[in-house]
């Protein structure tokens, strides 16, 4: 076992100890086929959590996205993102107007890898996710055969709220929904709206649980 693989194991163990990191595959089985997972983004912990919720076999070929300016600053950060998480760097600022920020993602998809994308672009503090950025629409257009899996990460904002460093142990779940595909002729706005609703649908419903609780 390499040091990177070992670090990965340790990180996923810590994530499991603190959050349980339970993956609920409600809409699709955990297959090792090519997929794009689109998830809500509430905390820095999200990526580790979703990664720990994957079965071991899926981790190697599922790649996350890291902001280039932040994650290449030091040798350690670069090692963590490339060796452990096998992440893809995306630059947040364009160096030239012709540069396509989605190009590295398209390359990875062409190579057969799966992706984890947080389409809101940044962390949302409120309960509802913010409107999705158009990146996933372009990817869905270029790669129509790759299914998009709507994913909801629940409770993680309680583990590590913005501005805190030490995580509090609270159970979290990651729910994977039924695959989504771009319909022929569907407009960008419609698709993004539909994708956002599909992600929100995966949120476990506390009210429904409360109703079941009546019987004793």
């Amino acid at each position: 076992m390499t040091l990177a693989a070992f670090t990965g194991q340790v990180l996923s163990f810590i994530a499991r100890l603190i959050t349980g990191a339970q993956g609920h595959w409600k809409g699709c089985p955990p297959l090792a086929e090519q997929r794009i997972y689109i998830a809500n983004h509430q905390s820095h912990f999200d990526l580790v959590l979703i990664w720990a919720a994957f079965p071991h076999e899926l981790r190697a070929q599922t790649r996350a996205i890291a902001a280039k300016d932040y994650w290449t600053k030091s040798a350690f950060r670069r090692w963590l993102t490339t060796a452990v998480f096998n992440a893809i760097y995306v630059s947040r600022t364009r160096s030239s107007p012709d540069e396509d920020p989605l190009e590295p993602l398209a390359e990875a998809l062409a190579a057969g890898d799966s992706l984890v994308i947080f389409p809101e672009g940044t962390r949302s503090a409120q309960g509802h996710p913010m409107p999705f950025k158009s990146g996933i629409f372009h990817l869905a257009e270029q790669f129509p055969h790759v299914p998009l899996i709507p994913t909801w990460i629940d409770n993680v904002q309680r583990v590590m709220p913005k501005g805190e460093v030490v995580p509090v142990p609270i159970l979290c779940t990651v729910t994977f929904g039924a695959p989504l595909q771009l319909r022929p002729g569907e407009s960008k706005a419609d698709f993004l709206c539909r994708a956002r609703e599909a992600v929100m649908e995966q949120r476990p419903d506390p009210a429904a649980v409360g109703r079941l609780a009546e019987a004793d």
């Binding site: 159970l171 779940t173 476990p204």
Partner: protein, 330 residues
């Protein structure tokens, strides 16, 4: 009986485990063979399959409990403390997930998880029993609101603190008394702590099973129907008295006389029965039926359901036993 007394303490404990696991093995094999029997018609087969499913879950819980107990014993003070500390951690994690803490509770929770819990078990492992009994109720419960106040959020301050203190009380303070029983060296009863824990577990198990059967067959008017539609005082009495009887019958494995053993078992079983009701009220408040409800917001594993009753009974039994020995030594 004479040769039993001639054995050393650790040999007696080893024998206890041989008997326990032998009994569990016989029970498992018997029930398994029974489940294989041919049934005449479809309906009887379905019914037997359903019973087997339920029995298998209970059996698995009994095996896990028994193995835990054994591992706690063979691994000595350090292992027992670590094992129960881990269970406390998992139970508190589940509790806190369900009671919906606020953002401003973050620092308070860090203190509860990463300061109070480890210190309580460290005190337990090093056998400072005078500090052990007061550390959380005195120092811990005063420290938590201080940290909360420093977070600068007056909204439902009392309620937020009460939630966290309750979690610590049940999941950490209550449960830490189980390894304490293993570690407490009573004068004239050294190295036999496992028997006390065994006594506690048997009394609680007997009372819970009797109460469950009584609730199912009696169908009495519930005393607190909005909290539990099944809990009735008569079922509680049946459970408590069965637990006391079990304690009375087991008096010979404890240092107590038969009357004392009955009284202690009564207190323990009574606490366990009411403890179950209190946990139900907490669950109703949190809006879940089982702590381990699969479809719940969290996907909790249901550990609290299994140990909640023990969390109530263990401190009551521990302190009764401790007073008894303090009196006996005088």
């Amino acid at each position: 009986m004479r040769w039993l007394q001639a054995l050393t303490a650790s040999e007696q404990v080893a024998l206890l485990f041989v008997v326990l696991f032998g009994f569990l093995t016989l029970l498992t094999v018997g029930l398994f063979l029974n489940s294989l029997r041919e049934r005449e018609d479809e309906e009887a087969r379905r019914a037997s399959e359903l019973t087997w499913e339920r029995v298998r879950r209970d059996l698995r819980a009994a095996w896990i409990g028994g193995s835990m107990f054994w591992v706690a014993w063979i691994s000595g003070p350090l292992g027992a403390t670590l094992l129960f500390a881990l269970f406390s951690f998992l139970a508190l994690r589940e509790f806190i997930t369900l009671v919906h803490t606020q953002r401003s509770d973050h620092r308070t929770l860090i203190v509860a998880f990463f300061v109070l819990l480890p210190v309580q078990y460290m005190v337990c492992g090093t056998r400072f029993f005078d500090l052990f009994t007061v550390f959380l109720p005195v120092y811990g419960f005063l420290a938590l609101p201080i940290v909360s106040a420093l977070a600068d959020d007056p909204r439902s301050f009392l309620e937020r603190n009460a939630k966290i203190q309750w979690g610590v009380m049940v999941c950490v303070y209550g449960l830490s008394h189980a390894p304490a029983l293993l570690l407490l060296d009573f004068p004239g009863y050294t190295g036999r702590g496992a028997f006390l824990l065994f006594f506690l577990v048997m009394v609680v198990a007997a009372s819970q099973i009797a109460q469950e059967i009584a609730t199912r067959t009696l169908r009495r008017r519930p005393v607190a129907r909005r909290i539990s539609r099944s809990f009735s005082m008569r079922a509680w009495w049946i459970g408590t008295l069965t637990g006391s009887a079990a304690g009375g019958l087991l008096f010979w494995i404890t240092p107590f006389k038969i009357g004392q053993s009955l009284a202690m078992a009564f207190l323990t079983a009574a606490a366990a029965g009411f403890g179950g009701l209190v946990m139900k009220a907490l669950k109703k408040d949190a809006g879940v039926r089982y702590w381990g409800n699969r479809s719940s917001i969290t996907g909790a594993v249901g550990l609290l359901d299994r140990i909640a009753v023990l969390c109530f009974a263990a401190p009551v039994f521990f302190h009764s036993a401790r007073w008894y020995f303090a009196g006996a030594a005088r």
